[in-house]
């Protein structure tokens, strides 16, 4: 697709793209290239000499059970966050899609958590579920649960998933609502005339028609769980206790922070890059389909 009416100028277009191009090359491509180069190098303990080691850093990484566990954990978190947040948001969106009085008010009251920053989400949830002073922990303990996410890895993981899913409800709700409103009412009426009860109408008509939205949101939620949970994890558990809440992004951060293995940290970055490329690729394929849909 190209415009027919254009301007003629030799230098102006370059001047116009120059600022963006400069930032992109200096702060995006150069560091990414550095990460790729670094991932093939091994630095000695004093950082005085480096040797080219081919894929040694990668091999070592995949031999490390901790890294493997971190991959599994990240996928598990993504799955749990996406499923819990999507199903709750879908329920709310289906309800809000009905012709109810005050539906705009409902929408407003449900979308604002989108604006809450991940580290703040972490602070809010750790406060409510803090082992010694949390307002909810009291009831958990009264119910006989030995609640201490600061010591128990599984509880810490549950807490991260809960907080991360909470933040994502508003985003999912908004897109589900838009998706539901785009479904032609005549289709649902036809199903109703055929005698389909509301529940059946939902599963046989609404749900399939909503599948492009569900798929799109699934990808967005996975990307979110990969990257944006960093702030939540950092304020709530810092990857602990042990390594029970250390996701891939958190691992890159904490491994590099300890100033340890630069080559390994770079190799981890490169693997993450590949994952983002795959996820973005899936997302774009889908967008094409949505256009033709």
């Amino acid at each position: 697709m190209q415009k027919q009416a254009i301007f003629q100028s030799k230098l102006l277009p370059y001047a116009l793209v120059a600022p963006q191009l400069a930032i992109v090359l200096i702060f995006f491509y150069w560091p990414a290239l550095q990460a790729v180069i670094q991932s093939f190098l091994l630095q000695d303990a004093f950082g005085l000499s480096t040797t080219f080691v081919w894929f040694d850093n990668y091999v070592e990484l995949f031999r490390d059970p901790a890294y493997f566990e971190s991959i599994l954990r990240t996928f598990f978190f993504s799955f749990a966050i996406a499923v819990s947040s999507l199903s709750f948001a879908l329920l709310l969106a289906v309800m809000a899609d009905k012709p109810l009085r005050g539906s705009t008010l409902y929408r407003t009251l449900l979308i604002w958590p989108y604006a809450v920053a991940p580290p703040v989400v972490g602070v809010l949830w750790i406060f409510m579920l803090h082992p010694s002073l949390g307002v909810i922990s009291r009831y958990l303990r009264a119910a006989g649960i030995d609640w201490n996410p600061l010591l128990d890895g599984d509880q810490a993981a549950a807490l991260i998933i809960l907080a991360a899913a909470w933040k994502q409800i508003s985003y999912n709700f908004l897109f589900f609502l838009a998706g539901l409103q785009a479904i032609p009412k005549s289709v649902l009426e036809a199903a109703a005339i055929d005698g389909a009860r509301p529940m059946r109408r939902f599963w046989t008509v609404t749900f399939p028609l909503l599948s492009p939205t569900i798929f799109f949101l699934l990808v967005v939620n996975i990307v979110y769980a990969f990257f944006d949970t960093f702030g939540i994890i950092d304020t709530m558990t810092r990857g602990g206790p042990g390594k029970s809440t250390e996701t891939l992004v958190y691992k890159v951060y904490s491994d590099g922070l300890l100033g340890g293995n630069l080559g390994s940290s770079a190799a981890q970055s490169v693997i993450l890059m590949i994952m983002v490329i795959v996820l973005t690729g899936i997302q774009f394929r889908f967008v094409e389909r949505k256009v033709t849909y």
């Binding site: 415009k3 580290p119 406060f127 992004v249």
Partner: protein, 282 residues
């Protein structure tokens, strides 16, 4: 119209209110905690009703900070966050709109390669290039500066794509007309294209402002001086000290203050927000 019986409607209202309660509960607790006495909270005796320390806590939070040795007024953190958010939002829009203009309205060698170079940055979020980017910013002596906080985040493939799409829909006749009037490329951009893009810019601004205000990982890395801290980083540092010493009312007041600007933007500019969100995801 599909019949919606009274009973089902009733259920829908109830489910929505339960949803709203779940969504609002953590924030309610934060607001309540920020008005109560620290000793009471630390003992796990927090009440679920507002306490009497509202003014005291917020005054101390905004103007003084925590009682620790590295105290920093949260007011100052908010200022840093505001400057960073505005620089990011305005910067992204500015550099994206001019590059989209060049790509759509000019033919020049390397036009498509440049477009792809910008486009591919979608796949390079800051999380995958943390330390190399940090090193470059350090080498450029931009640690602890607004430039360091904002510049590396200012490129935007999404915004560039959005403006490119919008410019493609602008009728060619407008350009012909302004050319007859003797306008050059800059005049056309300034007098015709920019006013037409106003709604798009506003919608984008709302989203980018929230995005900028909520930045966390990047400011965490490149700010070492307390007076350059953003509020998101500051709040994390408040709960690093041993639990017993954490001043929860101040932490919660800071959380409330950190939420206030972006939530305000979402609620007040809801139409633009929704539009921006949907547009940037396309």
């Amino acid at each position: 119209m599909v019949e919606e019986e009274g009973f089902r409607r009733y259920v829908a209202h109830i489910i929505l209110w339960i949803g709203i309660a779940i969504v609002a509960f953590p924030v309610y607790i934060a607001i309540i905690a920020s008005t109560q006495d620290n000793a009471l909270i630390a003992n796990g005796q927090m009440s679920l009703l507002p306490g009497g320390h509202f003014f005291e806590t917020y005054y101390q939070t905004i103007f003084v900070g925590t009682s620790g040795s590295t105290r920093e007024p949260v007011g100052n953190m908010m200022l840093n966050s505001l400057v960073m958010a505005l620089l990011i939002a305005v910067g992204k829009i500015a550099i994206s709109i001019i590059s989209a203009y060049a790509i759509v309205y000019f033919r020049f060698p390397l036009r498509m390669p440049i477009f792809w170079i910008i486009f591919i940055t979608l796949m390079l979020p800051v999380e995958v290039r943390i330390y190399p980017t940090y090193k470059i910013v350090a080498d450029l002596h931009m640690l602890d500066s607004y430039a360091g906080l904002a510049l590396p985040l200012i490129a935007s493939a999404t915004a560039t794509l959005l403006f490119r799409q919008f410019f493609m829909t602008v009728p060619d006749e407008l350009l012909e007309a302004s050319r007859i009037d003797g306008a050059g490329p800059l005049r056309f951009f300034w007098d015709t294209l920019l006013p037409l893009s106003r709604t798009n810019m506003a919608a984008l601004f709302v989203i980018l402002f929230i995005l900028g205000w909520n930045q966390y990982l990047w400011p965490l890395l490149i700010t070492t001086r307390d007076d350059m801290q953003t509020i998101q980083v500051g709040i994390r540092k408040m709960i690093t000290t041993t639990d017993a010493l954490t001043e929860w009312p101040i932490v919660m007041a800071t959380a409330v203050l950190a939420m206030l600007p972006p939530v305000f933007v979402v609620v007040v500019m809801q139409k633009l927000f929704v539009r921006g969100l949907v547009e940037t995801e396309k």
